[in-house]
């Protein structure tokens, strides 16, 4: 069975700082990779996804993620965060037609 690991439980940073959230998965076959965001009091929304092709994918709100197959990683980045990026971020891996989520990373951006 696949598993998804997110390295950071809680990240606190200031506005305009750069953000990188780690995600690693364990599965040897073909995967589809996702980052979801959950703003306070709201439901899960898709930030970006990787299915195939260019391993650097760009999503909404200035986020991007890089798929490194050799490292089984799909890290999320944003060069300059805003206060409104405060949210819970979930990495998810779809393998064997089941979506598995990481434990999530709480990101708090201080003004």
């Amino acid at each position: 069975a696949q598993s998804v690991s997110q390295h950071n439980h809680h990240v606190i940073l200031s506005e305009a700082a750069s953000l990188e959230l780690g995600c690693n998965y364990s599965y040897g076959g073909t995967v589809n990779l996702f980052w979801y965001v959950q703003y306070p009091g709201q439901h899960l929304q898709l930030l970006l996804k990787y299915f195939s092709g260019d391993p650097l994918v760009k999503g909404i709100k200035g986020f991007e993620a890089e798929f490194i197959k050799s490292k089984f990683s799909f890290n999320l980045r944003k060069p300059s965060v805003q206060w409104s990026d405060t949210a819970e971020y979930f990495c998810a891996v779809n393998a064997d037609y089941k979506l598995s989520f990481g434990a999530g990373t709480t990101v708090t951006v201080r003004a």
Partner: protein, 113 residues
């Protein structure tokens, strides 16, 4: 953009009672899912449903749980006899094809007292 809708947004029930959580997936989607998120924990897969039958379920999805697509639009999750530990946010999701992007509903917060 089309969306998945869930009702109610918040359900309060007594331990041992039956609850039905309702979802209306996106109309042309064929794959349906339930996930749950206990407060402070990760999002957990419960069950997937396709062609009027369960295609996969997790160990959480025991005999107390059942899913149904009673008509062409609704997708329901029933918990037969709720326990305190069933308190969670329950998310419905649907996708057009297997393995593709899931569209999530806004969730139903279930509180078991």
């Amino acid at each position: 953009e089309p969306e998945v809708t869930q009702t109610p947004s918040h359900q309060v029930t007594q331990m041992g009672q039956e609850v039905i959580l309702r979802c209306v997936p996106i109309s042309n989607h064929l794959y349906f899912y339930w996930y749950r998120q206990i407060l402070g924990q990760k999002v957990e897969f419960l069950v997937s449903f396709y062609n009027n039958e369960i295609s996969e379920k997790s160990e959480i999805f025991d005999d107390q749980f059942s899913v149904e697509r009673p008509d062409g639009s609704n997708f329901t999750l029933k918990i037969r006899s709720t326990k305190l530990e069933d308190s969670a946010m329950y998310f419905c999701a649907s996708s057009a094809r297997q393995g593709e992007k899931l569209f999530f509903g806004s969730g139903t917060q279930l509180s078991v007292l």
